[in-house]
Symmetry: C2
Subunit: 462 residues, 2 copies
């Protein structure tokens, strides 16, 4: 029998997270406050607990994972590393394709890798309740799960159109005991303001973030904080457990070198999770093609400038140095809801600036076509976000075939698509189409950031 | 850290299935044909391929699992054996609770353990196409998955009301390339007859079975066969890989004795899968409480007689010696769709007759309450069917606490509930109620079998 899975024992789960900030050739630019000056850590205290702020600004290379967190992660970690032998055979490629199966977690994606530590650090800090926003529900359900196991209340502001159209993710949150309300809601000033102006708005992630932050910072007991599912440094840090495990697993089966690494990137955490531990090797001289993949319809990395911009529409967050389409950007309704964010994590953006990674964009029809080929060869049905990475894997495997090279391709299978089958339905019925963002639309949304401070040009090498 | 999962390498996957028929104290009664005489194996040839008929009637104790089947099962097998430490703690029980997590398969349940071998044996026999029926869609999606990987066409007759109300399972089947039509359909005589009489019928499993069998046996090319997801001997045989793995895993961590084994039982295959390998030990003298669990609303094992009855409403199948509520029985619409079958597998029924297992019935509200406690302690959201086993586990763990005994409880976590969240929704909103089958209703449905041949009374010991 040909080996399909590399499994590790729980005791071999990594004991530290890897912090790319320690190794980036160009130091990260600081977030800026409303006054255009660097944000001081204490300014974040109403939003995040001190222990997570410490991680957010840390430049330590290795950060210890507390055993109590590892004990919860052990419910599904180490996740299996699979070899996609049936796909290889279907493509006739000499490449060896490996994937980390993050769909094995209770909520079915990589998101709980950070939801669990975030909930744990908040609990440690004496916090009783977390608020967050969610679009399609992937992140909201992960945080609801983590709060259930750790013993925190959880309040999720879910974009109204998803709340109405995707009841199953909301039901997952409720099953784990979280409260989920459609956003905009009447519970916050931000929500009420929007509803007064646009009573029939379908909502947006930007509005939901504003509501969740407001609900956290205005709690008079001071025992509520906010949690974010991607973009920030500490979130990406927690996800590096994916790549660190993959390294151990590849070593276990004697794979000495990886040639290509890919993952989809919405806010950037799933990509960072698999790629950053290998990026350290690349910085040290290894030859690896590292490819974050995004939709053509939301081309943050491939077409948007590296700029200072807000993380939310209502401009409640500090300015982050990142690739951004502008905080007012509203992407078209593609089915990969997790890839519709206007910005990209500062750490991933910095790696793009340093030419360490080479982003790529795909159209959704090609992604669904790839997802269906995957399901019919490898069995597991991928999330539409994951399908973007699969499209890239298939291209790279075909390239290896043309070149006659035995490449090793590694990617993050970020989550299953069992809650996203309506996208497959639309695809099978010919109701999906491709959409490349027109120049003039992009120019319009970029106008929102033209008066904001600019990052320094040129690289400041250490 | 406390160990949560016992994982086995693929090479340690069992190489043989266990056949309980070899060890039952009372020999199995033969299926009977329309003439009331034992069915000859060749009479089954239009329905099943010869290699599966051979397994169906085999009394060999061990049957080798072909390596090509093990290679596909390795996509998710050996499934992890978990210890439910958080539930133990929440209950304050001295019992150690272990569960086999069958939700890790691509379709999310134990069903592909038999779908894969059934598809493989059909393919070996030269068959091109399989037909089957499905209620809620658990079995249909498992067979669609297996056919995609093995290269067979797959046609699924799905009970119309589920087809309309549960589009996600149908979409899973379509993603794997199967064709799924609502039953009754216009494609079979059985379907057309029903539609002529009842154009608005919501359909039933009995009708769908009739259509699937008809479609298989009337294919003029002779290259179509029918596949069943439970009840029959060969189906239960394939599921014993669950219990065989569990034995290896318990041994690996030094657990010498199991005190209680439980699983839900609809047609009986999931229960048989975990229990039969241990039943062999019980027959040899071990003390184990083995408890199949069913809903109070469909009390096949706890209240129905052991009788000869048809497997389908239209009486197309042979008569099987089993506990049965009567082939016309229509159970109320409880959410555990997989537990609504009128009969029980002959092998499980025989084990009940031999007093080797002690069935139990639970109401659905208690099951949902147990499922929610499970989700909030152990993380994974169980299927409503699985919730029946969890209810039993919780009762047994509390009993162990009262008795102050360190019992070892093992059960089969047969599948996740991510496609069944509407049941949770109904539960949370107070829309579910309990329903015990009234005596007079049971008497009415049992009238359908009063003129059928009767199994001999008393035990024929070997």
């Amino acid at each position: 029998m040909d080996k399909l899975k590399v499994v590790l024992d729980e005791k071999d789960m990594p004991r530290q997270w890897y912090n790319l900030a320690a190794d980036l050739p160009t130091p990260l630019l600081p977030p800026l406050g409303p006054d255009g000056r660097p944000v001081k850590p204490e300014m974040l205290r109403p939003v995040f607990p001190d222990n997570l702020i410490e991680q957010e600004i840390s430049s330590k290379r290795w950060i210890t994972i507390p055993d109590e967190i590892r004990q919860i992660l052990a419910l599904w970690r180490p996740s299996p590393l699979y070899r996609a032998r049936r796909l290889e055979k279907a493509l006739g490629t000499p490449a060896r394709i490996y994937y980390k199966h993050e769909g094995v977690s209770p909520p079915g994606s990589h998101k709980p890798n950070t939801a669990v530590p975030q909930a744990w650090y908040n609990k440690q800090f004496g916090i009783k309740r977390l608020t967050t926003e969610t679009g399609a529900g992937q992140w909201g359900s992960a945080l609801a799960f983590a709060c259930a196991l750790i013993g925190l209340e959880c309040k999720v502001y879910m974009v109204r159109i998803s709340f109405d159209q995707k009841p199953f993710r909301r039901l997952m949150m409720e099953t784990w005991g979280a409260t989920c309300v459609p956003s905009p809601s009447n519970e916050t000033q931000a929500g009420r303001d929007i509803l007064a102006k646009m009573p029939d708005t379908p909502g947006s992630l930007g509005i939901a973030i504003s509501e969740a932050i407001e609900a956290a910072v205005t709690d008079p007991t001071g025992q509520t904080r906010y949690a974010l599912g991607s973009v920030l440094n500490h979130v990406l840090l927690h996800q590096t457990i994916i790549g660190l495990e993959a390294k151990k697993q590849l070593k276990k089966i004697g794979e000495k070198k990886v040639d290509v690494i890919t993952a989809c990137a919405g806010g950037g955490s799933n990509f960072a999770g698999i790629a950053f531990p290998f990026l350290a090797d690349k910085i040290a001289g290894a030859q690896i093609d590292i490819i974050p993949v995004e939709p053509q319809s939301c081309p943050t990395m491939t077409r948007a400038p590296f700029a200072y911009d807000h993380g939310d529409t209502a401009k409640m967050t500090p300015l982050l140095a990142m690739h951004s389409l502008g905080h007012t950007f509203v992407p078209p309704a593609i089915h990969a809801g997790g890839l519709r964010y206007h910005g990209m994590a500062p750490l991933v953006s910095a790696a793009i600036q340093d030419k360490l990674v080479t982003p790529r964009a795909y159209h959704q029809l090609k992604c669904y076509e790839s997802a269906v080929l995957w399901a019919r060869t490898e069995g597991f049905i991928p999330a539409p976000e994951t399908a973007h990475a699969i499209a890239c894997v298939i291209d790279e495997a075909r390239k290896a075939k043309e070149e006659g090279k035995e490449k090793v391709i590694l990617f993050c299978w970020s989550g299953h698509g069992l809650m996203d089958l309506s996208g497959y339905d639309a695809y099978f019925r010919g109701k999906l189409s491709d959409f490349a963002l027109p120049e003039e639309e992009m120019a319009k949304s970029l106008a929102a950031i033209k008066d904001l401070p600019k990052p320094p040009t040129g690289c400041i090498k250490r």
